[in-house]
Every structure is written in C-alpha cells, then in structure tokens.
C-alpha cells in the first residue's frame, strides 16, 4: 500500500487541475517525482510543491494499492480522480468541479462539499460526498446524450439541479433534498432521494427508477399514476412504507417509474 498525502499550504484562487494525478498514473511515483511535477493552473503550469506539502509512504504494485489523501480546502482543485480505474482518494475538505468524472473504478470520499459535475459520465467505482453536491451530479457532459452508466454515488447532504441527466446505469443516493429535474432524460439506473424535491423529477425519462422519500412540490404532467404499493421491491432494493407509483414520461413514450412516499405526498393521493 502506498499512501500519498498532499497537504495544502497555499490556496490558489485560479483552479488547479488534478486529472493527471490519478492513481493509475502515479502509483510508481516517489516523493521526488511529485516535487518535479508541474500542475496545470489556468493556462500554465507551476510546481505542485508550490501548493502542497507532499508525503509518500510505502510501495504500490498497481493503482489499486494507492491511497491518496488530500488535506485542506480543495475548493479550487478540479478533476480530482477524473478517469481513475482503481485506488482510493480521500479529500479532507471541499472539492471543485468534476470529482470522479469519467471514473471507471476505485473509490473517492469527500469529507466536505463538492462543486458541480461529481461523477459525470461515471462508468464504475464509488463516490461518497459527506456534504452537498451542486448541479449535474452523475450526468452527461454538455451536448452529450450518454451520461453515467455505472458505479455508485452517495451524497449525504443535498443535491443541486439536474441530478443524473441522461443516466443509463448505476445508482445514486441523496440523503438530503434535491433541486429540479432529477433523472431528466434517464434511460436506466436507480436514484433514491431521502429528502424533499422541488420540481419535475424524471422529465423525458424513458426508463429506470426514481424514489423520492420526502415531499415533491411539483410533479410533471407526463406521469400517470399506477397504484399504491406497500413495501415495494425495486430492482432488489426493499423499501419500507407506502409508495405512489407513477409511469412516465409519456411525452417520450417513457416506461420509467417514479416512486413517491405516500405519507409525505398525501395531496397526490
């Protein structure tokens, strides 16, 4: 096991980019290699050691043996774990855009809040965010119609707008509340939201499941009720309590399922 600890010593208001520092590429690196490395900052590069104290302990046979610990406020560090296939990254602080984007395996834990595009186009692996995430968590990228297709994202706080846009696989769990258009354009996969949702979950969804355990303020017209089900079993996930089942979005001939907690959404009964 190789433990790489980067402790922030100088905060840069211009974002640093970390997509070259994924376990797949750095498992052979020694402390010297990190000190030599120039990190992209805006349109140029500066030595990584300008911004971090670097500690490297142990040896790694492959990326799966790597544990990267990023201590401090990474609120201006983008692309943490972007494209990684194995290994572990722990951020003790906030993280900037694109955490775990295009990730294929391994795990990332953010002990803080994350900016937008967490787990964008993710294909595998695990991301856990202890705080909130902003918009487009688990989505596709601009223009792209193929979004998250595998892996698991757990958000213990709240999620922003357009969670899981174009999702075609994998699972997303949000403990807190969620803003508009969760699961828009989704074709497959599972989304579970513990808290309240503002509006329009599942817009233009073709398939997949969205579970809302809290109160939904505004449901889209394209969803038809399909009965009330007690303790439903959804893709092997056992929920407790009564749920109102909806099928939609009929605007795109969708066969997706939206499950609303019946207790919290009595107005829809």
């Amino acid at each position: 096991m190789k433990t790489i600890t980067l402790t922030l010593k100088k905060f840069s208001s211009i974002a640093l980019e970390f997509d070259e520092l994924k376990p797949d590429d750095i498992y052979t690196w020694s402390k010297k290699d990190f000190e030599k490395y120039q990190v992209p900052v805006g349109n140029t590069r500066f030595p990584l050691s300008n911004y971090f104290d670097i500690e490297v302990e142990g040896e790694a046979e492959g990326p799966e043996d790597v544990k990267m610990i990023l201590d401090g406020d990474m609120g201006r560090v983008k692309y943490i774990g972007c494209g990684m296939t194995a290994g572990e990254i722990i951020v003790n602080g906030d993280a900037d855009l694109h955490v775990g984007a295009e990730m294929e395996g391994g795990s990332i834990k953010i002990n803080g809040n994350a900016e937008s595009y967490v787990g964008r186009e993710m294909r595998g692996g695990n991301i856990e965010v202890m705080g909130d995430v902003k918009e487009y968590c688990g989505t596709s990228y601009i223009g792209e119609w193929r979004g998250m297709s595998g892996g698991v994202i757990k958000v213990h706080g709240n999620a922003g707008k357009q969670l899981a846009d174009c999702m075609s696989g994998g699972e997303i769990y949000v403990d807190g509340s969620c803003d508009i258009l969760a699961g828009i354009h989704m074709t497959k996969g599972y989304i579970e939201i513990g808290g309240d949702v503002t509006r329009w979950p599942g817009g233009q969804m073709k398939n997949g499941n969205i579970v809302i355990k809290g109160k939904l303020s505004s449901l889209l017209e394209g969803f038809n009720p399909d009965g009330i089900i007690e303790n439903p079993d959804i893709d092997g996930k056992q929920l407790t309590g009564k749920y109102i089942k909806y099928i939609g979005d009929i605007g795109v001939n969708g066969k997706g399922t939206l499950w609303l907690n019946a207790e919290k959404n009595r107005d829809l009964l």
Binding site: S140, Y141, I142, G143, E144, W145
Partner: protein, 571 residues
C-alpha cells in the same frame, strides 16, 4: 526557394509515371525541369511520392459547420491537441476547428479541398472560415438547386437569363462552381414536404429535379465552367433510390460538353454510396451498386465520388434538410435545421455508424462495391462526404481497404454485420487498387474532374503541391491484411507535404502554416445580361431577403489570397 526531392518512387497518373524512381524539382512554387545547384536536397530515396491530394467533395467551412460545432460540443472534446509553437490548438473529431481542418488535411498530404455546399447568403461566412483554415486551397461550390430565382427561370425555360444569373451569383459569392442538392426537395421542405424521384415537382414552382439538373447542366456548359454540374441527387439514403440516381445521370446524357474545358464529364454525381440502395424499405434493403456502376462504366459523361462509410460516430450535415429530418426520426438523437431564405435549407444530426448495425454495414459494403465495380479510376474519387459518412481523416483507412481484399474479407468475416456479405456482392470482389489507382482516385482524377490543370499531377509547370509518404512501395505488400494498419498510419502522417513550394509538413508534423487560397470563377462576356437579370430580380430580392443586396456580396477582402479563373463564356 528551390528544392529537389531525390530518388523517390513517383506515381503521377496524369503524366503516365507509374512508380518510377525519379527526382521532383521545385522552383518558385512550381514543378520545374531543372534547378540550380543551390536547390535544397530532400532525400526521399525509395519513398512514395505523389502530387498533393485533391478532395472533390467535403464540408469544411460555412454555416453548417458552425451550427455543428455549437450543437455538438461533445464532438469538440474528441481530438483535442495542445497548441505548439507553430500550430493553434486543435479540437473536434467529425467537425474539427478551422485550423485543425487545415492541419489534418495537410498531414495526410492533401493540398486542395472542395467545400461542397455554399448557400449564397452564407458565402461571406464560408469565406471567413476558409480564411481561418490554413495550408489547403479551397474550391467552394455554390448551391443553386432550390434557389427561387433558378426555379423561376427553369419554369420559364429561360436559359439565357439563368446563365447570366449563375455567372452573376458566382461573382457575388466568389465561388468556383455549381452544386445542386436534392433539387426541388429542399424547397419542398419549406412546405414540410420532400420530392421523390426526378419527376416529382416542387410545390408552387411546378418544376422537377430533372428540369433543374438539365437546365443547370446546360448553363454550366454554356458558360464553360471548369468544373461540371455537381449533383447530390434526389432520394438520398432511401432504399430503392438507385433508379433515381441512374435517372439523374441519364437526364443530362444528351447535353454537349463545352469544348474549352479539360474535364470529360458533364455531371459529377456526389457521395454515390448514399444513392445506390436497392429494395423497398430498410427491412429488405440491398445493394443497388451494380446497376449504378454499370451505368457509369458505359457512360463517360458521368464521374462520381463515393462518400464511403467509415463506421465511426460522426455528424451528418447537408442542404438536404428533409432527409436530415427523416434521419433524426430514425436516430432519435438531436437535430438542427437551418432555413436559408430563398436559397436552400440545411439539417444536421449526430450519427453513429456501427459495424454491428445491419444498415450501416450494408452502407459500408455498398461504398466499397462502387469503388471496385467502377472500372475506370478516372471516374471515381475517394471521399467520405466528410463528415457525413465519416471524417476525412479516415481516407488512409479507406485506402487500406481498397488495397487489400484480404483485409476486406477479414472485416466481412469478423467485424461487420452479415448484411454486408449477404446483401451485397462485396465478398465476390477481389479487385485491389494499386498505388497508381490510389494516386488517380485521390489526386489526378479529382483535379481533372474539377477542371484544375495546375494541380493533381507533377508535370512541369504544375503547382508544387507534393506529398511524400514514409513507405517504400517497392518493398511493401499492400495486399496483406496485416499491412492495413501500416498504410493507415503512414498515409495519415506524410513525411513531407509541400504546398506551392513550401514544406508545410515534415515527419508528420506541421512545419509551416500558410494561408489557404480561395479559388473562384469569374465568367466574362455576360456582363450586359447579368445587369439586366439583376435589375429584374431586385424587387423580389428586396422584398424577401432579410439582408440588403449591398451586404450580400462577398467583397474582395474576404478572399485574400485568391486564384481567379477568368472564363471566356463566348468560347
């Protein structure tokens, strides 16, 4: 600057040079017979030497490209290359950034590219984009097939005024030749319709595709434009459309070629692959390549380019707007439509040509069938209708398929859907192209078809547009399936590309960036008629166009540098 390319193996079909070891000498941007002792020697001993490539049909500049880039940001992410001291950053795969377009053609050893569809209203924009594309000369073709004025003249049978209109509009838009796309179909799209076959009239105008193609071909020959009528026939992409294609070609058979031009054809039929389908629907679709190829083999008034499917995720963009809508309905992805006022309409969608998909595999096989069934390589040009059937950077891959029937068999047996074998004759075709034929379909034939005497060959006096590839044709078996990857690699990164005597690519890397020239046709001898025609159409122009005529014209500073072709229409 003088250069001597020493001891290369030269293929120059125009001048009947077939793999001879000889020197190519360059002085002041031209090929010459002698150079002084000061000439810089480039040792290319035993390497493959050809004239720089000429592309007869691609979409590289203009409003469709811009819409595509805006509409497909996901494509821009593919093919990102960082800037260097010489080059700008590159982006995009099927719709590359302007500078990337120039660099990529240049790296493949190409020197001239045709932008195949310029709406007159957007000609200014097209020329602006050409100004941003380096290292290739561009021959823009102007769209006429759905233009209201053209339809009016055709309806009246007024060829004199139509000729004057074409002459005037080529000057206004600073374009090289004429293009027709789905004649009457894109106009019908204004009513939410399309036309089917060459004899289906456009609403209101009551003229047919046949009328338009015939009239414009006659005008083309009256004026003696260097390039022939360039047609994208009706019914693109519809099963059973091969008959429409043959009808289109046959419609102009009796029209006499202008004696002053160097080309042999009166009609160039573009992206023929999309127009050679049999069957009645996509369920029973099969190849219609045989009758189409047969017609071309028997008729010298037609040339074609293929529009070969490359089995990539790409973008389709065409002035055949109703067809794009049909495709959008099939794919369910996203769609952009562009209406160009009185002139045409365009559509655009992303498309994934998958080797696993029956239809795409069939299309792929039909393209190759046409390449192999048309006997005379001077009647065929290698294109992908970039980016419609695939991006132009795949030309080397297509060459590897043409040169090796073993590679094709390998693909038919293991890589593409069985429709490619079952519904076409491709498995029975074991013809392979040699280097001379490759040089013909990528250089000599397109130059001749475009009516360009100054390029596409290495004779004395030609532009010094030369490509050298890191491959020794005498010690290389291109027919081996295993060598396909080598061909693709080597032809994709020229050892040298020389443009007008400047070495613009060295060892597969851009070594110099030069401005692209705009080639345009200036018809002489119709000035009086042009004036009269302009006076006549001005009321309609002022009534329906959203721009003033003063802002419509392409001014000279949009085409710097340019090559003007003065055409004496009285000949």
């Amino acid at each position: 600057m003088e250069y001597i390319l020493k001891n290369g193996i030269v293929y120059d079909p125009t001048n009947n040079v077939t793999g001879e070891k000889k020197d190519v000498m360059i002085k002041d941007g031209k090929i010459v017979g002698n150079v002084s002792s000061d000439a810089k020697v480039l040792d290319v001993t035993d390497k493959l030497v050809m004239a720089a490539g000429v592309d007869v049909h691609a979409h590289i500049a203009g409003p469709k490209l811009c819409v595509g880039r805006l509409y497909r940001p996901e494509d821009e992410r593919r093919g990102v290359v960082a800037k260097t001291d010489i080059t700008r950053a590159e982006t995009g795969f099927s719709i590359p950034s302007c500078s990337a377009t120039g660099y990529r053609y240049s790296r493949m050893g190409y020197g001239t590219v045709t932008e195949a569809a310029v709406p007159p209203l957007e000609a200014k924009h097209t020329h602006e984009e050409i100004m941003s594309i380096p290292n290739i000369d561009v021959t823009p073709l102007l769209l006429f097939g759905n233009n209201w004025f053209v339809l009016q003249y055709v309806k009246e049978g007024n060829l004199e005024d139509l000729a004057a209109f074409v002459a005037a509009w080529l000057k206004i838009a600073k374009c090289y030749g004429m293009k027709v796309v789905n004649p009457c179909g894109s106009e019908a799209w204004g009513w939410g319709m399309n036309v089917h076959g060459v004899d289906d009239p456009a609403p209101y105008w009551d003229v047919t595709g046949r009328d338009v193609v015939r009239a414009l071909t006659q005008v083309n020959e009256m004026l003696g434009l260097p390039h022939s009528m360039h047609v994208h026939p009706n019914d693109l992409g519809h099963p059973g459309n091969y008959q429409t294609t043959i009808d289109t070609m046959d419609a102009v058979k009796d029209i006499e070629k202008n004696p002053s031009v160097i080309r042999n054809q009166t009609l160039h039929c573009t992206h023929l692959q999309f127009h050679s389908y049999g069957g009645t629907s996509w369920r029973d679709a099969n190849s219609g390549a045989e009758p189409v190829a047969d017609y071309i083999n028997k008729n010298k008034h037609v040339t074609c380019d293929i529009g070969q499917i490359t089995l990539d995720e790409t973008t389709t963009m065409t002035a055949d707007a109703p067809m794009e809508y049909d495709l959008y309905k099939l794919s369910g992805l996203k769609w952009a439509n562009k209406d160009i006022e009185l002139e045409t309409a365009a559509g655009l969608i992303p498309i994934i040509y998958s080797p696993k998909a029956p239809v795409n595999s069939l299309q792929w096989a039909i393209g190759l069938e046409l390449f192999l069934m048309i006997n005379d390589p001077w009647q065929v040009v290698l294109t992908t209708d970039s980016p419609n059937a695939g991006p132009f950077i795949r030309y080397p891959r297509i060459i590897s398929w043409l040169m090796s029937s073993d590679r094709r068999t390998e693909m038919l047996e293991g890589e593409v859907h069985k429709w490619a074998s079952k519904r076409t004759a491709l498995p029975t075709l074991d013809r392979v192209y040699d280097w001379n034929e490759i040089a013909t379909v990528t250089r000599s034939a397109p130059a001749k078809i475009l009516g360009l005497e100054d390029r596409g060959h290495l004779g004395v006096g030609a532009n010094a547009d030369v490509a050298v590839y890191d491959l020794e044709p005498e010690n290389f078996d291109a027919t081996k399936a295993a060598n396909a990857a080598v061909i693709e690699d080597v032809l994709g990164r020229a050892l040298y590309t020389i443009k007008d005597g400047d070495v613009v690519v060295k060892d597969g890397k851009i070594s110099k960036v030069v401005k692209s020239r705009h080639l345009w046709s200036n018809v002489q001898g119709f000035e009086e008629q042009e004036k009269k025609v302009l006076e006549n159409i001005m009321p309609m122009f002022n009534r329906y166009y959203t721009v003033k005529f003063e802002n419509y014209k392409v001014h000279d500073h949009y085409i710097d540098p340019s090559i003007e072709f003065k055409i004496d229409a009285s000949k």
